[in-house]
């Protein structure tokens, strides 16, 4: 523990972050890291120094999963809880550790200084079970490794002295196509920009047909053009490296091994739209990438490819800052991301205005996915025809897929758009496949009868998540995992999503416990449709998908568990008498009721 007071530390951080309220979240993340929590003293100090209401600072802390007002242990261990982690035994490992150390999951043990819990997918399903310890990524948590970790904690060994191999993150690239196979020389895209000029290059990107790789599939050239033509001053380039969609990890690999190309793509975009400021919004779960990315940025600066007078051109003046997230899936939604960049709660904005006209601090802002920037850089160097040599007419080029779950070879696969699900399953050695969840919990659940469908914007669109389930799996466990995920990740702003996610979770639990009837399914469909049509943002409009999809395409999952009564109570009648039985000590027949419905 450092001898610094929370106020002194806050002061240091305020200086480092220019006393700018827009950097509040970054300051809070740093405080959390150093003090294991954000003490009231720091909250008061920051509020007064940044002229913010104290309750606003508290509200920011309260929004992000990784920020706490109560101290966490100096070992803060969070197991990744995506369904594919669970399928690799994550829950057993967590329990193993809890038992070995005699602590409760979800609690903090004072003696050991250990907090133990679960968190949403941390993007390592190809090398799980995985966890975060003090924000650092642990992979391949075998039983043996768990025993070792238990010993390390018992001996109070500091995390930076733990064996390095615990923290190894592999790329696992299994299939390469034009994007990963083509070499991009440092600065080549910028050279191309300098020789062609912005208009011709935008035309070229437009002709390539490049659409956003983050999920929504908006035409990239169009977005850049809108921003370029927007009235506001001082545009901004933002890379969305939030990669929060459970089961997706392709951006992680790109950030780890292709960061230079990303920076090149962002710089290209900056040159075209006339931006001098850029951000990489890096999800908190990928904190281990922060220093390597900063080094990549520095390398580019050192070689005159970033900063002022890029490649000797005074007009090219662009630099990039990295902002961390702090555990909020919604911050991948571009307008919530911008709010978060501004140091606020990640609540999606009302649109219009769109970010391209009024984004970060009201300035015109391009937000693109990691893969999109890289593709744009490659197109600038290799031309539209090169890009169009792959894919279909509506979905040009290739797509990186993050494949995990029941297959022999999980990892990154680059495919031309138009590749069928079955081909992909064959390539990753998936056998006996029951279902594939494409595009994460928000996406589609596909049964075998639909494996002939193809990855494409107009068929099965995806940001990159591809989770495989074989016939040994109970798909309802996946559906429940997804429902829990959305309850946890709903930002709480709008009624249908805030309340609907919890209502769906309750009903689903009723189904799984075998207490539901057909009426419950009808109610779930009704709630799901309301969320789909009435929610404020994409999280709410897609959160019911796993339930709606499986009710439609896997009816047996539900039918098998339904009661034949027309109605079953919403709660366990006998359990509701537990407390009274305990208080009165009664065990007579009158102290019980007949459970179930009529």
């Amino acid at each position: 523990m450092s001898a610094q007071t929370a106020t002194e530390l806050s002061d240091l951080l305020l200086k480092q972050w220019n006393r700018d309220p827009a950097n509040l979240l970054q300051i809070l993340i740093a405080l959390q890291r150093d003090l294991n929590h954000i003490p009231n003293e720091a909250i008061r100090y920051l509020a007064s120094e940044l002229s913010l209401p104290q309750s606003v600072v508290e509200g920011v802390i309260g929004f992000y999963t990784f920020l706490h007002r109560q101290p966490r242990g100096h070992y803060d261990l969070l197991f990744s809880d995506n369904i594919t982690d669970q399928m690799q035994g994550s829950r057993d490992r967590a329990q193993q550790l809890a038992t070995a150390l005699n602590v409760d999951l979800g609690a903090t043990s004072e003696d050991l200084g250990l907090s133990l819990g679960y968190t949403s997918c941390i993007g390592m399903p190809d090398q799980g079970p995985a966890a975060l310890i003090n924000g650092k990524t642990l992979t391949r948590l075998s039983k043996e490794r768990m025993d070792q970790i238990a010993d390390l904690i018992k001996q109070q060994t500091p995390v930076d002295q733990w064996p390095e191999e615990f923290f190894t993150v592999e790329d696992n690239i299994r299939r390469r196509d034009i994007l990963l196979d083509t070499v991009l020389d440092k600065g080549a895209a910028l050279t191309s920009y300098l020789s062609q000029g912005p208009d011709k290059l935008l035309d070229e990107i437009e002709r390539s047909g490049l659409r956003g790789r983050g999920g929504a599939g908006f035409k990239t050239a169009l977005k850049w053009r809108f921003c370029r033509e927007a009235k506001g001053e001082d545009p901004v380039v933002v890379c969305n490296a939030d990669e929060g969609e459970p089961g997706t990890f392709k951006d992680r690999v790109l950030l780890q091994s292709y960061a230079d190309r990303l920076i090149e793509g962002m710089t290209l975009c900056a040159a075209i739209i006339g931006a001098s400021q850029g951000f990489i919004y890096l999800r908190g779960e990928y904190r281990y990438l922060l220093e390597p990315l900063q080094q990549e940025l520095q390398k580019r600066r050192d070689s005159g490819l970033l900063g002022s007078t890029i490649q000797g051109h005074a007009s090219l003046d662009f630099d990039i800052e990295i902002h961390l997230g702090a555990g909020a899936y919604i911050c991948g939604e571009e307008s919530a991301l911008i709010e978060s960049l501004e140091g606020k709660r990640g609540i999606p904005r009302i649109r219009p205005p769109f970010p391209v006209t009024q984004g970060y601090l009201g300035r015109p802002t391009v937000v693109n996915n990691v893969e999109t920037f890289i593709a744009a850089a490659m197109i600038a160097d290799n031309g539209a025809d090169w890009f169009r040599s792959r894919g279909t007419s509506e979905s040009t080029g290739t797509k990186l897929l993050s494949i995990s779950g029941d297959c022999a070879r999980p990892g990154i696969y680059e495919y031309p758009f138009g590749t069928s699900i079955q081909t992909i399953l064959d390539d990753c050695d998936a056998t006996n496949t029951q279902a594939v969840q494409v595009a994460g919990p928000a996406g589609m659940t596909l049964p075998a009868s639909e494996f002939n469908r193809v990855i494409a914007f107009d068929d099965v669109p995806t940001g990159g998540s591809f989770m495989v389930f074989d016939h040994s799996r109970n798909m309802l466990e996946a559906v429940q995992n997804f429902a829990d995920f959305f309850v946890h990740e709903s930002c709480g702003f709008c009624t249908p999503c805030r309340v609907g996610t919890s209502l769906l979770k309750k009903r689903l639990e009723k189904v799984i416990a075998g207490h539901a009837t057909g009426m419950d399914l009808e109610k779930m469909i009704e709630i799901g449709h309301l969320m789909k049509t009435s929610s404020h943002c994409g999280l709410g409009t897609t959160a019911a998908n796993p339930i709606l999809d499986t009710i439609e395409k896997f009816p047996l999952l539900y039918d098998e568990r339904l009661k034949t009564t027309s109605f079953e109570p919403a709660f366990d009648l006998n359990k509701a008498l537990d407390e009274a039985r305990e208080i009165t000590g009664r065990t007579d027949p009158g102290a019980y009721v007949e459970g179930g419905g009529v």
Binding site: L573, T584, G585, D588, G590, G597, V598
Partner: protein, 179 residues
């Protein structure tokens, strides 16, 4: 419908206010009695509900006995109606849901004003309390809801009139109230 329509009513965790309001339909009761015949109600003193066409439930579900009676009604009534705020959302009795059951019982039987021989009763004659008070639609299927605390006599009358005449049940603006 042939013959008279059989109606049963009961009050669970309620105050009989809804029943009073029902009686408030005044002279229309006579018209109603031409059409209906009462089974178990607080008025008839029949203790067990038999097969009925319509069951009116006042009050939410707060104890084991409420659960049993409600289910018995559901088994016997073709149409089951939640009558009044408490049946619909627990109402005033549900205000105890902001406290633990233990807190509530201790407040009444241990720390309460004027309590002699403080102890929480455990007599087997007394129905055991549920952790929380629940609306009746969480325990059985409900076919119609008559809001109000109590529902205005006019709302109750309109309900019967429309239902008995096989019309869709629809209320005017002033017939819908939650207070």
């Amino acid at each position: 419908m042939s013959g008279k329509v059989k109606v049963a009513t009961t009050s669970l965790a309620g105050c009989f206010g809804c029943h009073m309001s029902f009686l408030d339909i005044d002279e229309r009761l006579i018209a109603l009695s031409e059409l209906v015949e009462f089974d178990r109600t607080p008025i008839t003193d029949i203790k067990e509900v038999g097969p009925c066409d319509i069951g009116l439930i006042e009050g939410g579900v707060c104890n084991a006995e409420n659960v049993e009676v409600l289910k018995e009604f559901r088994r016997n009534c073709r149409i089951l109606v939640a009558m009044g705020a408490c049946a619909i959302n627990g109402g005033i009795p549900a205000m105890r849901n902001s406290f633990d059951l233990k807190e509530c019982l201790e407040e009444s039987y241990v720390h309460g004003v004027g309590v002699e021989d403080p102890q929480i009763p455990s007599d087997t004659e007394i129905p055991l309390l549920l952790n929380k008070v629940h609306p009746i639609h969480e325990v059985v299927k409900i076919d119609y809801f008559l809001p109000g605390c109590p529902p205005p006599a006019d709302t109750i009358w309109t309900f019967f009139e429309q239902l008995l005449n096989n019309q869709p049940v629809e209320f005017t603006y002033r017939q819908i109230h939650y207070d």
